[in-house]
């Protein structure tokens, strides 16, 4: 090993300067340069500063919505992923139908569907449940609950909540497949060893398979989180005041199309790039030699 390293070092001095130029990470330099340019514009231009101030709340909401939705998508996705590898026919079928259906519908359509179709239907059901309960079997503390359910109206469910739930349900299908792939990538012998020691299927999953599978799927999960942050711009059609929606409002308010969308795009980039650095850090912390 030491010998080859020495040769390589010696050779590297012989590589012409054009060759060495090719090794410079130009992409990072260009991004940095563009970033510096935009920051410079922000500093000198009142228009940009005004846009930035106006969009600030949108950034906060975008981050909040993405975090909560992705957390929910992870939990639901894990359950569905376990269903996809389950020997239980019912569990497997429900999970598979969910994944195939939800994956096949555009996220924008899913969001609209959840907000304007599923939510009213769910509310009608809750109203019906409340009325039935107060009519017949409401006892003690259940009376309050029944009346509450009966009185719920569609205005009580904020658009932000509907958007979060919609995003979570949409992405759960993708995360389910990520978890399924991760679980199936673990050699069969691992579960056999766990079972041979007297662990049950779920113990084997929890203590042996999932800890390995989750480490393995961290990169795709990180990718999906970044993708979801970008897709959260779609909830602007539900008039949730996240970054893209505030961008539209800012343009309408100032008529500064160019500056507004420059700023919006820049803010998304800052979010996604810092996220990808963060994901890399987590991956490195969780990594272990196999």
């Amino acid at each position: 090993m030491a010998v080859t390293t020495k040769t390589e070092e010696r050779e590297s001095k012989l590589i012409p300067w054009t060759g060495r130029l090719a090794d410079v990470p130009w992409w990072a330099l260009i991004i940095l340069l563009l970033g510096a340019l935009i920051v410079y514009f922000f500093l000198i231009s009142p228009t940009y500063q005004d846009a930035l101030l106006f969009l600030r709340a949108g950034v906060r909401l975008t981050i909040g919505v993405s975090l909560i939705s992705f957390f929910l998508a992870l939990i639901l996705g894990l359950v569905l992923g376990l269903g996809r590898v389950s020997n239980n026919v019912v569990f497997y079928t429900i999970s598979s139908v969910y994944v195939e259906v939800v994956r096949g519908i555009p996220i924008l359509v899913l969001l609209i569907y959840f907000a304007y179709v599923v939510t009213p239907l769910a509310l009608q059901f809750l109203n019906w449940l409340g009325t039935t309960m107060s009519g017949s079997l409401a006892i003690g503390p259940l009376v309050g609950l029944a009346d509450r359910l009966a009185d719920l109206s569609i205005q009580d469910v904020e658009m932000t909540v509907r958007a979060i739930v919609g995003l979570a349900f949409a992405y759960a299908a993708f995360e389910a497949e990520v978890f399924r792939a991760g679980i199936q990538s673990i050699q069969r012998g691992q579960m056999e060893a766990a079972r041979s020691l007297g662990m049950g299927y779920f113990q084997g999953m929890r203590y042996i398979i999932l800890p390995q599978a989750i480490r393995r799927v961290l990169p795709p999960l990180g990718n999906d989180f970044i993708a979801m942050l970008k897709d959260s711009s779609l909830i602007s059609v539900l008039a949730v005041r996240e970054l893209t929606h505030l961008g539209k409002l800012n343009r309408a308010r100032t008529f500064r199309t160019f500056e507004t969308w420059n700023t919006v795009a820049f803010l998304y980039l800052v979010l996604t790039l810092s996220l990808s650095v963060f994901v890399k850090l987590i991956e490195r912390r969780m990594a272990y030699e196999e």
Partner: protein, 254 residues
């Protein structure tokens, strides 16, 4: 089951009873009408050509493979009975695999403690004390905090044995424990197995290590094309194998 009337009923001494077990994978018949009993404290050595169904038969004992038909009784419990909680049986039957199957996300110590804590419900301290004793016994106390990928093949297999032994099993199953090892590491694994045999552990060993069989086995079983061809005491089988196919096989490998 008319033959079981003729055969003597299993006594308390028979810790493993296998009766008329069949197992096929699609068109391939891996085990055909296997009958075998293993007594408490006995070392039973199963050998034969590759693909002959040795591993499948072994894996039927702790139900990693589900037999198509037949009866398997382990320590008085019928394992193929749907009402049997197979996890309870498996906790009493340790298994050592050809490819070790250590848990790569846990240290050597963690590999040995996890099932003690989650299955035997021992405290962390007790599990670790037992794990360290066992690592001492397999001759690698200094490797407690090392992850499997930093261990040699022989060390991995010794940790795997300690992992199985930590459950205080009544029976140990060995599925070609030295087949994946470099020659210089085979001895360190066989030495631990020899010690175990001397201590009176009931062992069922699938292997090609005839030296181990000669030194430790009480009984030998020759399996070919899914059938038990011959079953005899170790002395008998080495001195005068009855079946021609056993003789041919032995002449090839000895």
């Amino acid at each position: 089951m008319k033959s079981s009337i003729v055969e003597p009923l299993p006594t308390d001494d028979d810790i493993i009873v296998i009766e008329h077990v069949y197992k096929s994978f699609g068109q391939v018949e891996a085990v055909i009408d296997a009958n075998l009993t293993v007594k408490r404290g006995e070392v039973c050595f199963i050998f034969g050509p590759s693909g002959g169904g040795k591993s499948t038969l072994l894996r039927c004992i702790n139900h990693l493979e589900k037999p198509d038909s037949g009866i398997i009784i382990v320590d008085g419990i019928p394992v193929s009975d749907a009402k049997t909680n197979i996890d309870l049986v498996r906790a009493e039957v340790g298994m050592v695999f050809q490819l070790f199957n250590l848990f790569p996300h846990l240290t050597a110590l963690g590999n040995i403690t996890i099932a003690q804590e989650k299955v035997r419900k021992r405290s962390k301290e007790e599990a670790e004390r037992i794990a360290r004793e066992l690592l001492e016994r397999v001759g690698m106390p200094e490797k407690a905090d090392v992850y499997p990928d930093q261990l040699s093949g022989g060390q991995k297999q010794r940790v795997a044995m300690a992992r199985a032994l930590a459950m205080n099993p009544k029976i140990m199953l060995f599925d070609e424990p030295t087949s994946a090892l470099d020659p210089e590491m085979i001895k360190e694994v066989l030495d631990v197995m020899l010690d175990l045999a001397k201590e009176g552990m009931t062992m069922v060993v699938v292997s090609h290590e005839m030296g181990f069989a000669r030194a430790a086995a009480d009984r030998m079983v020759f399996l070919e094309e899914g059938r038990i061809i011959e079953e005899a005491t170790t002395e008998e089988l080495f001195a005068s194998p009855k079946e021609e196919r056993t003789q041919i096989f032995l002449s090839h490998i000895l």
